[in-house]
């Protein structure tokens, strides 16, 4: 392992050590107002660096979420310079590109009534292959096509436009991520070997399994979607969700049968309840990442875990902020957290 990899791993572990622990989450949960959350994060956590650029009175509720995300991006900056030639880690930038394109798609499809603004740090904007600032003037799908001209997304968008008369956000999201995961797994296979390959495959496929299972759960129980249609939107990479198991799950006649079939995948969870599937999925990923960030000797694995754990922390904080905003009970908010 190279010296720079060791440095980056140590840095990530140190930053992971500063991440919020259960006791800190409980302290934040004790806050009754958003101002108290801001105060706590500003004075007692690693978010103080990002929060200190503004006065307490200047931090609004909307800005709070942005500042939390900003801290995560600043953390990536600290390690990205050690790993900018790593082909697997480059997918982190691709993931950000997809997220930005999806943000604008949400606006185009009318799912979100918000103006698109780039809120990424400058170092990330410069790393992206697409000109993010040009997206600020995009209002229609054709504008988007024009802006993404001569990028690898152009062909995807054109194909999508030809095949679909109506722009469906979920379909578009599926296509983007299908390609993303396909390329990621291909690169992992090509650029890594032995333990590193095993670890990354396990981590990525666990994520894909979780996305698929949560999707199946939602479609089968809430929207009562046809199995054939569900299958179309399933990512065709798996770890525990083998084709046989998938068939079995899709063939479930009712919720109890679905629950029994899901139990086979989440064997380690006692008192499995189907409605908690999203929480189990995130918790499984959280535990795997916690395991590898502590024990893995491979930069890519540790970076992946660090990235996922940061994302989970951001989600947890957003759950708390929204919970407090909507006056939810402490216990209720706690149920949404992955800790």
């Amino acid at each position: 392992m190279s010296f720079s990899s060791q440095t980056a791993i140590t840095k990530m572990r140190a930053m992971y050590g500063k991440m919020l622990k259960e006791a800190e989450y409980l302290n934040i949960l004790n806050c009754n107002k958003i101002e108290e959350v801001i105060d706590f994060l500003k004075n007692n956590t690693h978010y103080k660096n990002s929060f200190n650029i503004l006065e307490k009175s200047e931090i609004t509720e909307d800005l709070l979420e942005d500042l939390i995300k900003r801290e995560a991006f600043l953390n990536y900056k600290k390690i990205y310079r050690y790993a900018n030639k790593n082909k697997v880690i480059e997918f982190f930038i691709k993931h950000i590109e997809i997220d930005e394109i999806l943000k604008i798609m949400l606006i185009i499809t009318g799912n979100e009534n918000k103006r698109y603004l780039v809120d990424l740090p400058q170092y990330l904007v410069s790393k992206c292959k697409i000109k993010l600032f040009n997206l600020v003037n995009v209002k229609t799908f054709d504008d988007l096509l024009e802006t993404l001209k001569n990028t690898k997304y152009e062909k995807l968008l054109l194909d999508f436009k030809q095949k679909n008369k109506e722009i469906n956000y979920l379909k578009f999201e599926h296509i983007l991520y299908e390609k993303f995961f396909k390329e990621l797994l291909k690169t992992v296979k090509a650029k890594t070997k032995n333990v590193e390959l095993f670890e990354l495959n396990k981590l990525i496929k666990t994520k894909i399994d979780n996305i698929n299972l949560c999707y199946i759960y939602r479609e089968k129980t809430i929207f009562k979607t046809d199995s054939k249609k569900i299958k179309e939107n399933i990512f065709n990479f798996h770890k525990n969700l083998t084709p046989n198991r998938l068939e079995k799950i899709l063939a479930s006649a009712d919720s109890s049968q679905l629950e029994e079939n899901f139990k086979e995948i989440y064997k380690n969870i006692k008192n499995f309840k189907l409605k908690k599937i999203e929480k189990y999925a995130e918790k499984t990923e959280f535990l795997v990442c916690q395991h590898y960030i502590n024990l893995s000797l491979n930069l890519t694995t540790v970076f992946y875990c660090f990235y996922i754990l940061q994302q989970i922390e951001i989600k947890n904080l957003i759950h708390i902020i929204e919970g407090i905003r909507y006056n939810l009970k402490k216990e209720e908010i706690k149920n949404y957290l992955t800790i």
Partner: protein, 643 residues
């Protein structure tokens, strides 16, 4: 090695003389006050009064703070009747300080405005012309640089953004829009976290003109501030002693008044009680001789049921500083045993062996003395004792700043002491020093057990005195085994005969094993709840006890071990010094530097380690055997001038 005998004093007097009485008790310096319980029969009630000296004391404290006067406690005068700083003068200085604060605040706000306007440095127009117009609306503020880049890329919008200044994080500027569009555009800017800077009403001109205006104003305010500070300084020079006196007066009045809550009183009389050392009774009587309005009674050397007797340790001067180590662990019970002298002796001895060097010991002695003089700290005095012992053992070990053998010629004169000097680095001396450590450990453990037996018998705790592992049974077992082991090792004489084993090993073990039922048998206090005996629990306790005798003895090996390590470290320093000394021209200088630095390093590092290890031996191997730190410390009434 004892605890001061205490007498209970009950004072009754005319209520008008309560303050005078308290002041006398404070001056007496040996009165431990107790909260008197209300007496319904004589209509005596607790005095719940508001302390009238809080405000004047706070005022004078504020003045001390404002003028930066350090509290001086050496003014020896009758404080209560001394002159004080007049109220008008107090108010005057408080007003001056208020004005200083206001001026500073104004300067701060002007500086903020200056900072704000300096971000408009590119504006070549009057601020009012930009901000106060009929058809357009302009806002000045800052946004994150990323959002400024967003703005730069936006096309066909209903606003202009005119950047004025930027730093690493933010960009300052005006956004200008039509009045009708202002709300819509403001919403957009709000989403971009535009923080609007509110420009004070009076700032209207061109930024350059305004900057000059503000700078001039700040200058004149600074001049005013300087004058006020000079006035304050003069005031301090003129009144410093008077202010000190006023503080001491009000502090005395305030603190003495706060002791009134310990008294009970009716309309005419007060009643207050406490403890004084018995030997101070005549002095106490003399103090109230001239006042027939105050009467008192003593209950000499008798434990009061209502109040637990406070403990004042009485230790010889040589070992008095070691009281600190005892009280840190806990206060011994009244009429028990003050271990300060014993601890002082063992601590100094153990420290001396572990840190035996004449030169370094001398440095510790001097360092401790200076530390005590400068900081009035007991640690300094402890260090002098330890340093002295280090010097003695340094003589025995023939070591001066790591140079060994310098004293050999002098020792040769004492023909009777052929084993001296005792060079630690001589291979033949390594085992003896470790054995001496163990022997010392055995002796200390036996002394601790004896002290425990004595204290248990004194408190009539027969179970602890006879059957515990720190009692007679333990003494027989440990003392017997230690003697037999030493006899076998040193004189090759085996004492382990069947009778010896039966009497010194088996009988004490059985006594300790059955200590609970035997203890319940001899316990005369039938009302107390009897302890339950369990064979399994006693069995495991027994294993623990037997092991602990062994490990506690071995624990003292560290004394010899650290003595050897000290000598070995000094040897390393000397080797380095010799290597440095072999440099041709700079040899002697390099040698001296290495010796000095090496010694400094060893004094600090080893000094710290040895202090901690010696303290650990005291607390763990000695105190755990007999010390019960649940006594009440003796706290005489006093004025706490420092707080």
């Amino acid at each position: 090695m004892s605890i001061e005998s205490m007498s209970f004093v009950n004072i009754l007097g005319d209520l008008n003389f309560l303050d005078e009485c308290i002041l006398k008790l404070i001056n007496f310096k040996m009165f431990h006050i107790e909260q008197k319980k209300e007496k319904i029969s004589a209509n005596f009630k607790n005095l719940n009064e508001q302390n009238p000296y809080i405000k004047p004391l706070n005022n004078i404290k504020k003045i001390l703070n404002i003028l930066g006067i350090k509290k001086d406690f050496n003014i020896s005068e009758n404080l209560i009747y001394s002159e004080e700083l007049k109220i008008e003068k107090q108010e005057e200085i408080l007003k001056i300080e208020e004005e200083i604060e206001k001026t500073k605040e104004k300067i701060r706000s002007l500086e903020d405005s200056l900072k704000l306007i300096s971000h408009m440095k590119n504006l070549d127009a009057k601020i009012k012309d930009v901000l106060k117009t009929d058809y357009i609306k302009a806002h000045f503020g800052r946004l994150l640089k990323t959002n400024y880049l967003n703005l730069k890329h936006m096309k066909n919008e209903d606003f202009f953004f005119i950047p004025q200044d930027e730093d690493e994080e933010f960009c300052w500027g005006f956004y200008i829009t039509h009045k009708n569009k202002d709300q819509e555009i403001s919403e957009l800017f709000k989403k971009m976290y535009f923080v609007e800077c509110f420009i004070p009403e009076n700032i209207e001109e061109n930024p350059k003109v305004e900057i000059e205006k503000i700078e001039n104003e700040i200058k004149s305010l600074n001049e005013r501030l300087e004058n006020l500070e000079n006035y304050k300084e003069n005031f301090k020079d003129e009144n410093e002693i008077l202010i000190q006196k006023t503080y001491l007066k009000f502090k005395t009045l305030h603190d003495s008044f706060s002791y009134r809550k310990f008294a009970v009183a009716n309309e005419k009389q007060f009643n207050i009680c406490g403890f004084i050392p018995t030997k101070k009774i005549p002095e106490f009587k003399n103090m109230f001789e001239d006042n027939n309005k105050i009467v008192f009674e003593f209950i000499e050397d008798k434990e009061e049921k209502e109040y637990s007797v406070p403990v004042k340790l009485k230790t010889c001067r040589l070992f008095r500083p070691f009281e600190m180590y005892v009280t840190t662990y806990g206060t011994p019970q009244y009429k028990s045993f003050n271990p300060s002298s014993l601890i002082g002796l063992i601590y100094s001895l153990v420290f001396g062996i572990m840190f035996g060097d004449l030169g370094q010991g001398f440095l510790l002695f001097i360092g401790g003395f200076i530390a005590h003089k400068k900081m009035k700290n007991n640690l300094g005095l402890i260090l002098t004792r330890c340093g002295f012992c280090s010097m003695i053992f340094g003589l025995i070990f023939d070591s001066i700043f790591g140079f060994e053998g310098l004293l050999e010629q002098y020792w040769e004169r004492f023909s009777g002491l052929k084993w001296l000097p005792f060079h630690l680095l001589k291979p033949s001396n390594s085992i003896p020093i470790l054995m001496i450590s163990c022997l010392m450990g055995m002796a200390i453990i036996l002394i601790s057990i004896l002290v425990n037996i004595f204290l248990s018998l004194k408190s009539k705790n027969l179970k602890e005195a006879l059957f515990s592992h720190n009692g007679l049974a333990g003494l027989l077992f440990y003392g017997g085994c230690a003697t037999a082991a030493l006899s076998l090792l040193l004189f090759k004489k085996n004492l382990f005969s069947p009778i010896f084993i039966a009497l010194i090993v088996i009988v004490p073990i059985l006594l300790i094993f059955f200590s609970i039922p035997l203890g319940n048998l001899v316990d005369k206090n039938s009302s107390a709840e009897k302890e339950k005996f369990s064979v399994s629990s006693s069995f495991f306790d027994m294993i623990d006890i037997l092991l602990s005798y062994f490990t506690n003895t071995l624990s003292f090996l560290r004394v010899g071990g650290l003595a050897l390590s000290h000598a070995a470290l000094m040897l390393v320093v000397m080797k380095f010094a010799q290597m440095a000394g072999s440099i041709n021209t700079l040899g002697p200088v390099a040698f001296t530097i290495v010796v000095i630095l090496g010694n400094a390093f060893i004094v600090v590092l080893e000094g710290l380690i040895v202090s901690i290890q010696a303290l650990r031996l005291i607390y763990y191997e000695i105190f755990s055997r007999f010390f019960q730190g649940n006594g009440k410390p003796f706290n005489p009434v006093k004025i706490n001038y420092e707080n």
